[in-house]
């Protein structure tokens, strides 16, 4: 049996998205900037996609900027806020310890340029405390950027409350909603969001398209200069097929969300309960405030990559916060941030589900995992020490 349980990394493109894309390759292949009928057809399609995205975000079409993906959107949001801040002498930015590298590395770069960065703690449950945020906001705070849902441990932050607090304090609030979009409800107005990033390939849309939502009135800084596409704020011929695929996938995801989320969450809970039957396995991240599809556990005494490889040989695609899968020595900064020791963090396993998974697959994972864990533990000196220590 083959089970794809790595939907937080990327997803299969849905039939609906692909169908929407196909005409854009060979029929409506025009450049939306061209004034002739083939170009104008493309411009119409582009506008419709923009409206679809706006509608399902509670935004206006003019507030939607199309990018090549989530990383670009995160970078542009952060640079935009940094430039605005610098003009007012505000060079302090608040974020969290568990952001995606697209945010953290963009912040690192700003730090080198003289910005001061405060990374909030997320405690054992992986959730930011509003009181911490309130305490961290200063008169020179230019931006608060806090992700909606975490890509590794799936924890969901209190976005609406964070947004309200930022608004009260007059600070721009950006949220990296790459993992949330299509999986959790989003309404930028109701949730007090000034800027938001999302990426199509995380909700069964295609790779190569993302959105940078920026509330009107906030002057955007380009990171790609050139033509007048995207109101002059993002140059480059628009990736129409991917944008159209994104809109189709997002629409479907938003419309089916109540049902799909319930179904996925039921699978998730069954999986968590099953895995926690194993001895010395802990769930990472809050059990309730987590993405419907996210399971992240640490299997003590074994190392994540070898666990992944054995699952893979059994046909199960999963992920790990182990250093070994990233090629660096340190395990995931997210797992360390919630207080795991290096040793335990190395043994983490992420199974991320989507509506494309089914119960039979969950059963298969639950029957496949225990013997693998047992086998790896049986050859693990760490496990032996743990057992002797007891």
């Amino acid at each position: 049996m083959n089970v794809y349980a790595d939907n937080a990394a990327t997803t299969r493109v849905s039939e609906a998205a692909l169908e929407a894309m196909l005409p854009c390759f060979v029929e409506n292949y025009g450049n939306p900037s061209s004034p002739h009928h083939i170009g104008q057809k493309a411009a119409q399609i582009l506008l419709a996609a923009r409206q679809t995205m706006a509608e399902h975000l509670g935004a206006e079409a003019s507030e939607i900027l199309f990018t090549s993906g989530g990383s670009e959107a995160d970078n542009q949001a952060i640079i935009t806020a940094a430039v605005i801040g610098a003009r007012k002498g505000k060079k302090h930015i608040i974020s969290t310890k568990i952001e995606h590298h697209a945010v953290l590395h963009a912040l690192n770069k700003l730090e080198k340029e003289g910005y001061e960065i405060t990374l909030l703690d997320v405690y054992e449950d992986g959730i930011v405390r509003l009181s911490d945020l309130e305490a961290a906001i200063r008169p020179d705070t230019a931006l608060v950027t806090i992700m909606y849902a975490n890509n590794e441990i799936g924890t969901i932050q209190p976005i609406k409350e964070i947004g309200a607090l930022c608004r009260e304090k007059g600070v721009i609030f950006h949220t990296d909603a790459v993992q949330a979009a299509g999986h959790l409800p989003i309404n930028v107005k109701e949730q007090n969001i000034d800027m938001l990033s999302l990426s199509a390939h995380k909700f069964h849309g295609p790779k190569g398209a993302g959105v940078f939502f920026c509330r009107k009135g906030i002057p955007i800084t380009s990171i790609i200069e050139g033509g007048a596409q995207e109101r002059g704020k993002r140059a480059g011929t628009e990736n129409l097929p991917a944008i159209v695929g994104m809109a189709a996938a997002f629409k479907a995801a938003c419309e089916q969300m109540p049902d799909a989320a319930a179904r996925v969450q039921a699978m998730r809970d069954k999986l968590i309960d099953g895995i926690l039957q194993l001895p010395e396995v802990i769930l990472n991240g809050d059990r309730e405030k987590r993405l419907p599809g996210n399971v992240n556990v640490s299997v003590k005494g074994i190392e994540g990559e070898s666990l992944l490889l054995m699952l893979d040989q059994a046909g199960i695609c999963a992920s790990s916060g182990s250093a070994c899968t990233s090629g660096s020595l340190d395990p995931s900064h997210v797992l360390l941030a919630i207080g795991l020791t290096h040793e335990v963090a190395h043994g983490s396993l992420r199974l991320s589900l989507s509506e494309y998974n089914n119960d039979a697959e969950i059963d298969y994972i639950l029957s496949t995992l225990p013997p693998i864990v047992e086998r790896l533990r049986s050859m693990s000196p760490v496990w032996k020490k743990m057992k002797e220590g007891k």
Binding site: E303, E305, S306, L309, T325, G327, P331, H342, M379, P381
Partner: protein
């Protein structure tokens, strides 16, 4: 990161997994912090490594290099085991991804640690040039 077929074979069916009760020498290298720990057990009789076993906590490459390193020295005289290099382990595995080379170093060092233990137990001096260099702090190793 793609493993060779040999690596996958030694990962999937690792040779020499286990412990040796009355081992002549035991070596442990790496640490849990950096994600790899290898424990090598050697049985040495008349200067010949008659048995070698390992326990490893680590990635696919760590398990495969442990397996291959123990295979390479089993049945060999000590002198040959002393000369085991990480390069030989990598070659025997048809290569390793660059980010995994440190696993092969760990395997070499594990064998040397076990031999050091053997020399120590016998109250003998291990030849200077073959002494392990692993200090247990992977970040200092540079590979």
């Amino acid at each position: 990161m793609m493993y060779s077929e040999k690596v996958m074979d030694h990962f999937t069916n690792p040779r020499n997994v286990g412990e040796i009760e009355d081992a002549s020498g035991i070596g442990e290298v790496g640490n849990a912090k950096c994600g790899d720990i290898m424990k090598i057990f050697l049985k040495i009789e008349d200067g010949i490594i008659t048995d070698a076993k390992f326990n490893t906590f680590g990635c696919g490459a760590a398990i495969a290099t442990s397996s291959m390193a123990t295979e390479l020295i089993k049945g060999k005289p000590i002198e040959e085991a002393l000369k085991l290099s990480n390069k030989a382990v990598v070659e025997a595995l048809d290569g390793l991804p660059p980010v995994k080379l440190h696993c092969s170093v760990l395997a070499e060092e594990g064998v040397k640690m076990a031999l050091q233990d053997y020399y120590n137990k016998r109250g003998e001096e291990m030849p200077e040039e073959y002494r392990p260099r692993c200090d247990g702090d992977c970040s200092g190793c540079g590979v």
